[in-house]
Amino acid sequence: MKQLLSLSAMIVALTANAQIGVFSQVLDKATPVDTARYAVTYTLDYTCHPKADVRFNDVRTLLIGRHNVKDYSDIIHHYDSLATEQSKRGANTFSNPPGSPWQYEIMLSDRGRQADMKYRLPIGIGVLHYSEPVPVMQWEFAADSTRTILGFECQMATVEFAGRKYSAWFTTELPLPYGPYKFGGLPGLILKIEDAEKQFLWEATAFEKSGLPIEIYQYNDEKTCSPEEAAKTIERCYKTPNAFLLGVIGGKGRIYITGKDGKTRDASEIEDTPIPYKSLEIK
């Protein structure tokens, strides 16, 4: 990460409909905590705000072990792995994840009751790290609702979680009480879940046996904080992105912004434009 931050200047694509990209990390500090028995792949179709036109895609992996469940972006992890290999060969600049993968990495433990959260801040500023308990979700089962996803017969259940209403499709053919993000507690694996505003939509594309280690990565520039501090930092990153980046990285000549017109300008010389943002957990 130090290598990345040693860049004298950065160019950031920043428009009202864009996400700020993240940088790769070298995965050289890993602690195995469990071994995955199953791996579930989800596509995540999401947007920063329900009214924003532009939607983003991510490929998420859910590793399910005996004691731990980890949900992470496969795109970010792929580029982290490449950077790790390149770093071993002496490289000091790396390819960064393309597109706008979702920056959250979630490690659930204690039967899904405890969440260890990591959020990768834009352009390699650092990683927020916080822990919080996961409330018991009060699912309501919808009668006479069945649907086949991935060849599994699924039923629908709804829940209200952190200020949003979700509809989930789960299958008792896979008696694993988990799902993407913090969702779980159903008598089967969640294969599809979306919120009522359709800001987030996860859908499973693969369910496979796995023997992968479930590891906790210690990232460079990891900042341990409370959930509230993390929420405020992330919100600031969207509400005043220019000021946020300037505050973290430095003043004139350090960051250049590529605007909607394709022009690149020094970040310190332009007016801040908020990026519409609505957090997954509203309350």
Partner: protein
């Protein structure tokens, strides 16, 4: 957990334990009504001691209590719908869950980029990228290697975002191993000049090839050695070296064969840098029948190419492309050409022709490009050189004719393009082109077929055609903007100098034609998110000056010309798009239609233009197209309509006199019209990798024709239907088919319509993949022509067996298994019908070994 229905709440409690009495934690406990066992009323998990408590609100008589987890054998018991406590003894056993993987989508879009996942289109027998491109819905590859998206040729061909090939992308599509490619991206409306992004819409799509991670930064050298026998010893060798990195790319090829593979085609450039001179006198050689060239190409060919591109700085690229070709070709055919004369009679020429040609040619391109956010600079220097020697012998009528010819071509082309954008709507653009070209060529014919006009038993003629072209344009990106309307003024200065000298016994031409165009142009553009409209109006002064040095005659002409063009596009939504174009322009006089002393344009055609004035023609072109795409359903379709009206001032034609003919010309007020319509569709399926492409076209023309000093009007219709299918029904079998049906007829005014010419081409391929690395490929070619005498169908069969072991692939090919000797081909054009018989390459067998050296 709670249930939806709420009647009288009961509470079901219990413990889940093993036979040994130990409570099992984290077990799913589900309550379902007995009359609807799939419905879940409530659920819970057991605690550390295996204890659970579930409230239930339901009015049914009895319930199912189900327990499951990955650690136990699932169990279901029926219980009454009332509060109670249950001990459930379960058996510990790990449960294997079935695995399910949904394959990645074959096609997906990201904004204006359509991504084709190559693995989903690839078959085991595909050897080149072009083989896979053909299977992708919406994409077509012509026989010449040109790639089109939605029926329109692509603009740029990138490999990992770099333009390595600079228009010669046939080399890449024919040689890059498709197994090395992860994704083919179609960049719709891709404005490749960053400084023009958001300012000028781009209609043409570009293609970007994304390589697999393991291929990048790895040097590959793959060689093929082949030997065999047909009616002579056969050889087919090649070596392909590739190296693709983020900041530099390299592709070099060598190919040599005498097996009919047409290497020259691979070297074509699709970047529209057309040659500005052409052969005025041509040696007559056996012409090309409308079938695959490798079936009748008797060749000895060698080609070598070198392509390199480096990233320079953040936004710069430096590219070098060079190629050399050595080609020997021999052919033989019999042809009968029949021209309909004004009185309805026929002028028939029978020819038996045997010819050989030797070609050496080379090109080299040096390109520097800076593609920054504000500045675009492209400087390109190109040279082309070729020498062709040919000789042929012709038996025509009672004449035994021999001819030799030679053509040298030298060309130097420099293109410069600078765009500088100072703000969102401000900036300027400069474009400059300099073309220097020379084409000396000669033709010698024995005997002289025009003794009444030219003295001598044998004729020898030298012609030299030279061109100097300078084209300059400078403009402002936008001088004025109001709302969504922008106004772009520009200046243009173009100068073309063409000179022609010829010597045929005592008939000499020595002349030059200067053409200068200068003026101002304005482009008024209206761009919104859905609509783009632009009106381009160049107003220019045009000067033509013709000097004939032979007789010191000069003539010139000064004109004021306006040549407007209107474009409109409407992006209805992401799936539907409409485009309109209307353009009016003048055709300019060309030196090859202005010489007044005789030139022998072929062994039996003598040309001199009676009406040697500086005449123009007027052209009006209108087109409409509709494109549809649905990425999710892999559907692509469209309609293209066009109408083209021409009004030439002078008509050029022929005066036939038995074997020989003369070119004649006459002033005219006639017009010609051409209408064409095409409907096309392409559909991909997840099922068995099926792709179906279909297009149907109709065209109608009505035109004047000058024959025997009389102006005739004639009209014609043609219908064509093309289809292609590729399918992999099972892993061991893949099938592909390409077919084309064409029907045409023309009619001279006052006469009956000529009979319909109906032709059909069918190519089918079956690939069988046999375990153990063996594959069998059979190809069937079928051609049908209703004008042929006797057998109207022609069938060819090829078989190929391939065995792959480690890094070696052995291929045994047997071509023309049925050993067909010749092919009859009939054609019809305007009021001319022709029938030809060609020799076909004989049955042959060839063994090739392909292996990776590095």
């Amino acid at each position: 957990m709670s249930a939806l229905q709420g009647i009288a709440q009961v509470e079901i409690c219990g413990v889940v334990k093993t036979a040994q009495g130990r409570g099992v934690d984290f077990i799913n406990v589900i309550i379902a009504p007995a009359n609807s066992p799939k419905q879940i009323l409530s659920s819970a998990f057991t605690d550390e001691n295996g204890i659970f408590t579930i409230p239930v609100n339901n009015d049914c008589d009895s319930l199912f209590l189900k327990v499951s987890s990955l650690e136990i054998v699932p169990m279901t018991i029926k219980i009454p719908n009332r509060s109670g406590t249950y001990d459930i003894v379960v058996e510990n056993k790990s449960i294997e869950l079935k695995e399910v993987v949904v394959k990645s989508k074959k096609i997906y879009s990201q904004g204006d980029t359509i991504n084709y996942n190559v693995a989903n289109f690839l078959s085991q027998n595909d050897q080149a990228l072009a083989d896979v491109l053909k299977k992708m819905p919406g994409i077509t590859v012509s026989d010449a290697g040109q790639v089109s998206y939605q029926g329109k040729p692509i603009k740029n061909f990138y490999i990992e975002g770099l333009d390595l090939m600079k228009g010669h992308y046939g080399i890449a599509t024919n040689n890059i191993d498709p197994n090395n490619i992860s994704t083919v991206q179609v960049l719709e409306n891709h404005q490749d000049i960053k400084a023009l992004k958001g300012l000028r819409p781009e209609e043409q799509a570009s293609i970007n090839i994304k390589l697999k991670e393991g291929v990048k930064g790895v040097f590959n050298l793959i060689a093929t050695l082949g030997g065999g026998y047909g009616d002579e010893v056969l050889w087919d060798n090649s070596a392909i070296a590739t190296y693709f990195k983020r900041n530099s790319q390299f592709l070099a090829t060598y190919k040599g064969n005498n097996t009919g593979e047409y290497l020259s085609q691979e070297l074509y450039s699709f970047d529209n840098d057309y040659s500005r001179t052409s052969n005025i006198a041509d040696i007559s050689m056996p012409s090309a029948p409308g079938i695959d060239k490798r079936l009748y190409f008797f060749n000895r060919s060698h080609s070598a190419t070198f392509n390199n591109v480096y990233r320079v700085g953040k936004s710069g690229e430096l590219g070098i492309n060079a190629a050399y070709l050595n080609d020997r070709d021999s052919g033989e055919n019999y042809s009968s050409t029949s021209n309909t004369l004004p009185d309805g009679s026929q002028n028939i020429v029978d020819e038996l022709m045997n010819g050989r040609s030797r070609t050496n040619k080379a090109y080299g391109d040096l390109t520097y490009m800076l593609n920054g956010d504000e500045t675009y600079l492209k400087e390109q220097l190109k040279f082309d050189w070729s020498v062709t020697d040919a000789d042929s012998r012709i038996l025509a009528g009672d004449e035994d004719i021999s001819q030799t010819g030679k053509t040298d071509t030298y060309r130097l082309l420099n293109k410069f393009h600078l765009t500088d954008r100072s703000s969102e709507y401000r900036g300027y653009e400069i474009y400059s082109l300099v073309n220097l070209e020379r084409r000396p060529h000669s033709l010698a014919v024995s005997p002289n077929l025009f003794p009444e006009m030219i003295n001598g038993d044998n004729l020898r003629q030298d012609v030299d055609y030279r061109n100097i072209s300078i084209e300059n344009r400078a403009g402002l990106l936008s001088a004025w903007k109001a709302g969504n309307v922008t106004f772009h003024p520009s200046l243009f200065v173009n100068f073309h100098h063409n000179s022609l000298t010829s010597a045929l016994v005592k008939s000499h031409n020595d002349m030059y034609l200067n053409n200068m165009q200068t003026g101002v142009a304005t482009e008024i553009a209206w761009n919104t998110r859905k609509f783009n409209a632009s009106l381009y109006i160049p107003i220019g002064y045009r000067y033509f000056g013709l000097k004939n040095r032979a007789d010191e005659n000069t003539s010139d002409r000064n004109l004021l010309r306006v040549e407007p063009q209107f474009d409109f596009s409407y992006k209805i939504n992401g799936n539907h798009n409409l485009k309109l174009r209307s353009a009016f322009n003048y055709s300019v006089p060309e030196i090859q239609n202005l010489y007044s002393n005789y030139i022998l344009t072929s062994y039996r055609t003598l040309s001199a233009y009676d009406v040697a004035g500086l005449f123009e023609g007027r052209n009006l072109y209108n087109s409409f197209s509709y494109d549809f795409k649905n990425i999710l359903s892999m559907s692509f379709a469209g309609i293209d309509l066009s109408w083209n009206r021409r009004k030439p001032d002078v008509l050029y034609g022929s005066y036939y006199d038995g074997l020989v003919s003369r070119v004649i010309s006459r002033r005219t007020n006639e017009t010609s019209d051409m209408l064409s319509a095409r409907i096309r569709g392409s559909q991909g399926f997840d099922w068995r990798r099926l792709k179906i492409g279909l297009s149907a076209g109709y065209s109608y023309f009505e035109s004047p024709l000058l024959v025997q000093d009389e102006v005739l009007r004639y009209c014609g219709n043609s219908i064509s239907v093309e289809g292609d299918v590729s399918l992999s029904p099972w892993r061991w079998l893949s099938v592909s088919y390409e077919g084309k049906y064409y029907q045409s007829a023309s009619r001279q005014q006052g006469f009956e319509r000529m009979p319909w010419l109906k032709t059909m081409t069918n190519k089918g391929t079956l690939n069988f993949n046999i375990p153990g690395g063996v594959s069998l490929r059979t190809s069937v070619y079928h051609y049908y022509n209703n004008f042929n005498d006797g057998d109207k169908s022609f069938l060819l069969l090829n078989v190929e067996v391939r065995y792959t072991i480690k890094r070696f692939a052995f291929t045994l090919c047997c071509d023309n298994l049925l050993n067909r000797k010749n092919y009859i081909y009939s054609s019809q054009s305007a009021l001319t019908e022709a029938m030809s018989i060609y020799n076909i390459r004989p049955r042959s067998i060839l063994l090739k070994i392909r292996f990776r050296i590095l």
